[in-house]
């Protein structure tokens, strides 16, 4: 009899609990990280004594929280991968749009600069056309500055995001450590701390999006978190924090370090995934690489145009000065963490071998090793780093001064600063060196029909380049130079004199004179302007295979391929993550229809239980009535 009532009461209590939990599930249908719960019922122990009751009702054994640790791990993995790729993809898209946009990119501006030079070849004396050349040169420098500046600004943004991400990670690891303590504290409680577990799982998922992690659960319920590829973030109740510090190789940059909560020591880390990994990769693979490559084009342009300018004469009859100035490239510097006093100076010795990479130079106590930044590969180098025997690799020449100590490092950035450091140096239109340095003439008093023509400048550094030389024929087959020597004459054979190659052809006769002299009064001479214009397609990079325009094309293709690959990867990764989340939701998510059905079910059970109590009550009344009579 009491068993009957007990059953009814236990059923009331149990179904109330079930209704409560259904309500809880419905209430949290939109709560992120919430795992649906279910009341676990079990029949009350049956007491098997004769004449006694046959059941004691139902007990609530516990609250089951629907999760699947395997699926959870997949979601954590997926979040890390997705966090990295979406960060990379976002930055890649931005840089891609910068490089390719005809309104922003450098390509069309290079073309316009050379177009202006071509126009000037038609009338080299024209101040207007010269002004257009300088204007286009300035526009080109500005365009490099602008695109380089935007990319550098993306680098700064990445630094800010690094700091913010590190803060978020520290907050989450602290939260997880705290939740660990609270979860371990409930070990002896009858009901599992489902809400805390949900909170911790949510924190772990959020953390995984920021930095790739692996989790291991201790037997006491605490979870240990290791950031990939192997940095301990949370151990039970203790959390190590991340910090951003100035990068010793580039003080303008931040790097991420792990600070041990126990010893307080700090060491740099290189997380491979998550948003943090994505940010670090974006800076190296996207920002640095784009600046290096764009800088290579800018550097090649400035170097080539300046060299061409130095080979010609301007309107004042002087050798041309620099058209572009370059600051910040090539650059090399010791790490701030170095112990020794070594410093390093870098020059570009071979433009054609320049790769558009940056390097880290390591001193091991006896020699140097150069690591390419893009892939960490060791680059073959020769030399010992002295002035007489510089370190030479990839078109660079490095001289180390001071005394480095083993383990000292140096940053070598041949072209990174070039896009932002290129400026127009020439402001005077007269300063454009469009004329060749030397002109040739045949004397009007000549009797023979010999003619002279200058082919090219073979050595612009020849000290006598601008000296006047007279070639006088002794007879039809021999000539002397400046009144000395006897040289055999062959019509059309190239002759080199004072850095100038020229040919005399035809039939000169004795006494005929030809003169080479400084081409100082020839505003209409466009020979050097033609050479300027020819630099557009000249193979000056990649060992002579690429010109300026082509080298910019490479950057665009590179960026396009990278962006496209990242888009494909992020799509695949998102699909994986989506599948994992769906699977997780299939286990843990609240289905309102299901809860509605449960509501009906438990409502009916509750009604039935109340009936049990009512019947028990009426049975009791009848029993009492019978006894009273």
């Amino acid at each position: 009899m009491t068993g009957f009532l007990t059953s009814g009461l236990s059923a009331l209590i149990g179904t109330r609990a079930a209704l409560d939990i259904t309500g809880q599930n419905i209430a949290n249908v939109n709560t992120p990280g919430y795992s649906r719960q279910r009341v676990d019922f079990a029949p009350q122990q049956v007491q098997r004594t004769i004449g006694s009751s046959f059941g004691n009702g139902v007990t609530v054994e516990g609250l089951e929280r629907f999760t699947n640790s395997f699926v959870f791990d997949t979601v954590v993995d997926g979040s890390s991968g997705s966090g990295r790729l979406s960060t990379l993809s976002d930055y890649s898209n931005r840089i891609n749009n910068l490089l390719a946009d005809p309104q922003l990119g450098v390509g069309p501006t290079i073309q316009q600069f050379f177009d202006a030079l071509q126009d000037a070849t038609a009338d080299p004396a024209s101040t207007e056309l010269r002004q257009v050349v300088l204007g286009q040169a300035e526009a080109l420098a500005n365009r490099f500055n602008r695109v380089g500046g935007e990319i550098a600004e993306i680098g700064n943004e990445i630094d800010r995001n690094l700091a913010a991400t590190v803060d978020e990670i520290n907050a989450l690891t602290a939260e997880i450590a705290d939740l660990n303590v609270r979860i371990v504290g409930t070990n002896n409680a009858p009901i599992a701390p489902n809400d805390l577990l949900d909170q911790r799982d949510l924190a772990l998922t959020q953390l995984a999006e920021l930095i790739g992690i692996e989790t291991v659960e201790d037997s006491d319920g605490a979870v240990n978190v290791v950031a990939l590829p192997g940095y301990s973030l949370v151990t039970g109740a203790g959390a190590n924090t991340l910090a951003v510090e100035a990068d010793p190789l580039d003080a303008s940059r931040l790097r991420v370090e792990l600070r041990s909560g126990v010893t307080g020591s700090q060491a740099p880390i290189d997380p491979t995934s998550g948003q943090l990994g994505g940010l670090i990769d974006a800076r190296t693979d996207l920002v640095d690489r784009s600046l290096d490559q764009l800088g290579r084009t800018a550097f090649a342009l400035a170097t080539t145009i300046n060299a061409q300018s130095a080979e010609g004469l301007d309107l004042n009859g002087a050798f041309g000065g620099d058209v572009f100035s370059l600051t910040g490239a090539p650059d090399a510097r010791p790490a701030t963490s170095n112990v020794g006093t070594g410093n390093v100076a870098v020059t570009v010795s071979d433009l054609g071998a320049l790769t558009g990479d940056s390097y880290e130079l390591l001193y091991d106590g006896t020699g140097y090793q150069a690591l390419r930044q893009s892939d960490g590969a060791v680059v073959t180098l020769t030399g010992t780093g002295t002035g007489a025997d510089p370190l030479v690799f990839d078109g660079l020449s490095l001289v180390v001064s001071g005394t480095p100590t083993a383990g000292d490092r140096f940053a070598v950035e041949p072209t990174r600063g070039a896009a932002n450091g290129i400026r127009l140096a020439l402001t005077d239109t007269d300063g454009l060196a469009f004329a060749a340095p030397v002109s040739a003439s045949a004397a009007l008093t000549n009797v023979g029909n010999g003619s002279i023509e200058i082919n090219r400048t073979t050595d612009v550094t020849d000290p006598n380049l601008l000296a006047t030389s007279t070639i006088e024929f002794l007879d039809a087959n021999t000539y002397q130079v400046n009144g000395a020597g006897t040289f055999a004459y062959v019509s059309g054979d190239p002759i080199v004199l004072n850095g100038i190659e020229f040919t005399i052809s035809g039939a000169p006769t004795a006494g005929d004179q030809f003169t080479l002299s400084a081409n100082t009064n020839a505003p209409g001479d466009n020979r050097n302007a033609l050479l300027f214009a020819g630099q557009r397609d000249a193979g000056i990079l990649d060992g002579g295979r690429s010109g300026l325009v082509a080298s910019y094309g490479q950057i665009v293709t590179d960026s396009g391929v990278r962006t496209r690959n990242l888009q494909a990867s992020i799509e695949a990764q998102d699909a994986l993550l989506e599948a994992a989340v769906r699977e997780q939701q299939a286990v843990s998510g609240v289905d309102l229809d299901e809860e509605a059905a449960n509501l009906v079910r438990f409502q009916q059970a509750y009604q039935a239980a109340t009936q049990l109590v009512a019947i028990a009550n009426s049975l009791f009344d009848e029993l009492i009535g019978a006894v009273r009579r």
Partner: protein, 398 residues
């Protein structure tokens, strides 16, 4: 049976809606830009090719502009040279006219006046500008007047430079010719040697035709034909040694050292005719020479004979000048032709480039529009499905 949690249903439907909307937006952007490749990531290799073709087209456009620049300049030069030719032809007629025995001192004076007038016009033409302050015939010193009067002579202060303009991938064309080449460096006489009658001659010998018999034998040495009798001569070299002798009758050609000089009229004993290497004589000097001879007022037979010799030389010099102008005009004409040919070639390349570019970049509108409408249909369907499925809930019927 897989459970379908409510939030997941919602999120999934939302993701599908977003994806459909994004696809439709992309198709719309393609249609709006008319380009298949909106960013390089859409087709990296295609984008690089597009970049190259665009550069190539820009290059071709530049070559066309260069070609036009060169063409304009050469056409101006051709017009100037046509006038030069006319003036030189007129001078030639005048010299022939002056050589006519019916001329008097006075009429020769008139001719001299006209020749001086022509010479002044020639200087003007030689100093032609291109309309923008650049002198056509100044070589590379084209900002300054190239031909300046210096006493009776005209000096050339330009240089011998000749400017080239790039009109094709590897084709350069000279956009002009220096004044030195056209006006100054005019070979004298027949270009090999020239013979002058000595001022002191008393006979009526006239140097008529001069010719090279065997090319390459005469080496520029000075020779003098000295008449030892009315019908005999010696040929004396530069140091006074007699190298040959011969007999002479009026109209005979005296041949030596691979060259021949025909002398008309009757030289007197002791008359000398000097032979020298031709060298060059500028066209202004030639005209000045002729005018001066005509103004000399020759009346004696001997003086008239010398005048006739000088007029013969002048005529030869003029013919050389006319020859050079003709040669230059031919060269200008062929340069204009090659500009035309290159322009045709460039246009052909441009057409090919544009076609290739269109293939690479341009959108197939039919396909794109049908794709857009497909995507819009998908979007609408997704929206309707969303509304329908979100409306389904057991709670609605409780």
């Amino acid at each position: 049976m897989t459970r379908v949690p409510t939030l997941d249903t919602f999120n999934r439907a939302l993701a599908q809606l977003t994806a459909s909307a994004a696809a439709a937006a992309r198709a719309q952007e393609q249609i709006a830009t008319g380009s298949r490749i909106v960013t390089p990531a859409d087709d990296p290799y295609g984008a690089a090719e597009v970049l190259l073709f665009e550069q190539n087209l820009a290059e071709l456009a530049q070559y066309s502009r260069n070609a036009t620049n060169a063409e304009v300049r050469l056409q101006r030069e051709e017009a100037a040279l046509a006038s030069v030719n006319d003036l030189l032809q007129r001078s030639r007629e005048l010299v022939l006219q002056a050589s006519n025995a019916t001329q008097t001192q006075e009429t020769r004076g008139f001719i001299a006046v006209e020749l001086r007038e022509i010479r002044a016009q020639l200087v003007d033409i030689a100093n032609t500008e291109n309309g923008r302050g650049r002198y056509l015939f100044a070589g590379n010193r084209d900002t300054e007047v190239p031909f300046v009067a210096s006493g009776a002579a005209v000096d050339y202060v330009g240089d011998q430079g000749q400017r080239q303009i790039q009109i094709g991938e590897s084709l350069f064309v000279e956009s002009g010719d220096s004044g030195d080449q056209i006006f100054m460096r005019v070979p004298r006489a027949n270009g090999v040697f020239t013979t002058a009658a000595a001022n002191a001659n008393t006979g009526t010998g006239i140097v008529a035709r001069q010719s090279v018999i065997t090319a390459g034998v005469y080496g520029g040495e000075s020779l003098t034909v000295r008449f030892t009798a009315a019908d005999a001569y010696d040929i004396v070299d530069g140091v006074g040694a007699v190298v040959a002798s011969g007999t002479f009758a009026p109209g005979d050609a005296i041949a030596t050292n691979g060259i021949a000089v025909e002398i008309d009229g009757q030289p007197a004993i002791g008359d000398e005719f000097t032979i020298a290497a031709a060298g060059y004589r500028d066209v202004f000097a030639t005209l000045d020479d002729i005018a001066t001879v005509l103004e000399s007022g020759a009346s004696s037979d001997a003086a008239l004979a010398q005048q006739a010799s000088a007029l013969n030389r002048g005529l030869e010099n003029l013919d050389q000048a006319i020859g050079i102008v003709l040669e230059t005009r031919t060269s200008v004409g062929s340069r204009l032709e090659s500009i035309d040919a290159q322009r045709d070639l460039n246009t052909g390349f441009e057409l090919l480039g544009r076609e290739a570019l269109a293939d690479l970049r341009d959108l197939d509108y039919t396909a794109a529009i049908s794709q857009l409408s497909q995507q819009l249909t998908a979007l609408e369907a997704a929206q309707q499905a969303f509304v329908r499925t979100q409306g389904l809930s057991l709670f609605n019927v409780l």
